[in-house]
């Protein structure tokens, strides 16, 4: 029951851990090539939702379809069609740039010829040919992020999950990184991104704001700011989450 043009379909998605509801009745859809922002306090349920969408965790009820496949029934098909990148786990510092890309490409099941072709393509696109024999550990953070993004995209995923991808990167590096993300979206990749830099929400076509496992708002960021009379995204986030996000006390499954 794929809806036309939608690459992520979420219907009443719910996940409970014991008597605690981490994700509570989420319903939304993401268009092909859309940049979709996922905001919420620590413990709001973002990571749990993303784990379900990546086919890593079964929903308690409701359903979700990613890249045309049901995440609960066909998780292996889903995993083949998505890419995942986070600031925390990305690359191996003691491998070279080339070795890292080879490793990730092989994990995603690319054959040798395809791997070589796409690696070359990435080198060209990001102009990182001169770096290919360098150890990742010695590179500046901005470059690491770009290479991690390349690694997550080698197998040309239909949907890309980015979990706080720009932490610790300098402002210019963050902007360059976002330009790469927007390029990928222009080429038809669907992007779901979480971030704690609220100004980055403005790069997204639409933003979903979560608190206590529930969806508090979903729309274009500037529309939301207008609707809630917020000065900026920070103010909007406060208005939508503060009443419920305090006390910030729970270490919920997968969200430290």
């Amino acid at each position: 029951m794929t809806q036309e043009g939608k690459n992520i379909i979420v219907q009443h998605l719910t996940r409970r851990f014991g008597d605690f509801t981490a994700v509570d009745d989420l319903t939304f859809g993401v268009e092909r090539g859309e940049v979709f922002g996922f905001l919420g306090a620590n413990g709001a349920g973002k990571t749990t939702a993303i784990r379900m969408l990546c086919g890593l965790l079964k929903p308690t009820s409701g359903r979700a379809e990613v890249a045309g496949y049901d995440v609960a029934r066909r998780p292996e098909q889903v995993k083949r069609r998505i890419g995942y990148m986070s600031q925390r786990f990305s690359l191996y510092d003691d491998l070279t740039v080339g070795e890292n890309l080879q490793l990730f490409g092989t994990i995603y099941g690319l054959r040798r010829a395809a791997l070589r072709e796409r690696t070359e393509e990435m080198y060209r696109k990001l102009e990182m040919e001169p770096l290919k024999n360098q150890l990742v550990g010695g590179l500046p953070p901005g470059w690491k992020q770009k290479i991690a993004l390349s690694a997550a995209m080698l197998h040309r995923p239909e949907v890309l999950f980015l979990d706080e991808p720009t932490g610790g990167v300098d402002p210019l590096g963050r902007r360059r990184f976002w330009e790469l993300i927007l390029d990928a979206a222009d080429e038809g990749t669907t992007i779901l991104v979480t971030t704690h830099y609220l100004d980055e929400a403005l790069y997204c076509n639409r933003t979903l704001i979560m608190a206590d496992g529930q969806m508090k708002a979903l729309d274009k960021p500037r529309t939301l700011m207008r609707e809630y009379g917020a000065r900026d995204m920070d103010d909007l986030f406060g208005k939508l989450t503060r009443s419920t996000a305090v006390p910030d006390t729970t270490a919920k499954e997968g969200e430290a």
Binding site: E127, V169, H196
Partner: protein
């Protein structure tokens, strides 16, 4: 207070800090603003006497870090970037552990940082590993404060912490400064600069600028324009056009808008509009207006002058 003068340090053959000076008066919050690799942690390590500077001097709370390190360590409360508490000990046990190391009665916490302690006290029996990011940082702050240090140093205390908890944490820091503590805090969130009395912009081991947050616009060279297209799909083309303009002093996307720095004096909004029109852009669908530069804009202006080869290449594909 903290007085650091001309600090340089080479680590693993590469310069981590180059001639860095800092002056933090008592009762103020000083922010070290910079990305990963800027040298923030190396500077902290030197100021808390874990590392010796190759050159320069640092005096913390009245004691020279090179010769009076024992006294410095008693004067300073340090919260390192990595979570430094014991995950399998409870909140209360962690606090008791640090109290015992410093030979302090644990009850002192209430008079020292009662407002913060009360926020985590309901979870006193919970293992520290099971706290949320924001709660962990509040506990770490309590542990760093248990010996009533005059100087508090915090290395990226809010990294990875959500915006609501970040804001609560800053309120706590302001409370400490108001009670006379000297606070040096690093962050890679540029918006947090506004919460400091003074900030140092640090990039690849050197100080780009030191200023009060209110002075940002004054330190920015020229005028900053914000350009918004009715349809953001046009942004890529606009960026290309503006980057190719010889008068442009740097141009980058800022969310769904574009920021354009015009370093030359005397440029008006109409100049930008007519350039775009001359390049065949329908300017009726575009807004151009001068805006107040943020810390990020200043940081970008100061770093784009010293661009490295690789990032220059990224600008000219």
């Amino acid at each position: 207070m903290i007085e650091a003068e001309g600090i340089s340090k080479t680590r693993g053959g590469t310069p981590a800090l180059d001639d860095v000076s800092l002056h933090v008066p008592q009762g103020t919050i000083h922010g070290l603003i910079g990305a990963d690799g800027a040298g923030k942690t190396t500077l902290f390590d030197i100021l808390v006497t874990l590392l010796r500077a190759d050159k320069g001097t640092a005096v913390v709370g009245g004691y020279d870090t090179a010769t009076r390190w024992r006294e410095v360590r008693k004067t300073v409360g340090y919260m390192p970037a990595a979570f430094s508490l014991y995950g399998d000990l409870s909140v209360r046990e962690n606090l008791e552990f640090f109290a015992r190391i410093y030979r302090q009665p644990v009850e002192n916490i209430v008079s020292l940082v009662g407002d913060i302690w009360r926020q985590i006290e309901p979870f006193a029996d919970r293992p520290a590993a099971k706290l949320s990011g924001g709660m962990k940082q509040k506990l770490a702050l309590c542990c760093a404060m248990i010996h009533d240090p005059a100087v508090l140093m915090l290395d990226e205390p809010t990294t990875g912490v959500d915006p609501t908890s970040r804001s609560e944490f800053w309120t706590a820091l302001r409370g400490l400064a108001d009670r006379g503590k000297t606070v040096l805090v690093s962050t890679s969130y540029m918006d947090e600069a506004a919460k400091c009395d003074c900030i140092t912009l640090l990039h690849r081991g050197t100080v780009l600028d030191t200023l009060a947050p209110g002075q940002v616009a004054g330190h920015y060279r020229g005028t900053l324009y914000e350009i918004g297209a009715a349809d953001t799909a046009h942004n890529t083309r606009l960026l290309r056009l503006l980057r190719g303009w010889s008068l442009s002093g740097g141009c980058y996307s800022f969310g769904d808008r574009i920021h354009l720095g015009m370093p030359l004096p005397g440029i008006r909004t109409e100049t930008v509009v007519s350039y775009l029109r001359g390049q065949g852009t329908d300017t009726s669908l575009i807004s151009v207006c001068p805006v107040r530069p943020t810390v990020e804009d200043l940081f970008i202006q100061l770093t784009s002058g010293a661009e490295t080869e690789d990032s220059l290449k990224a600008d000219n594909p």
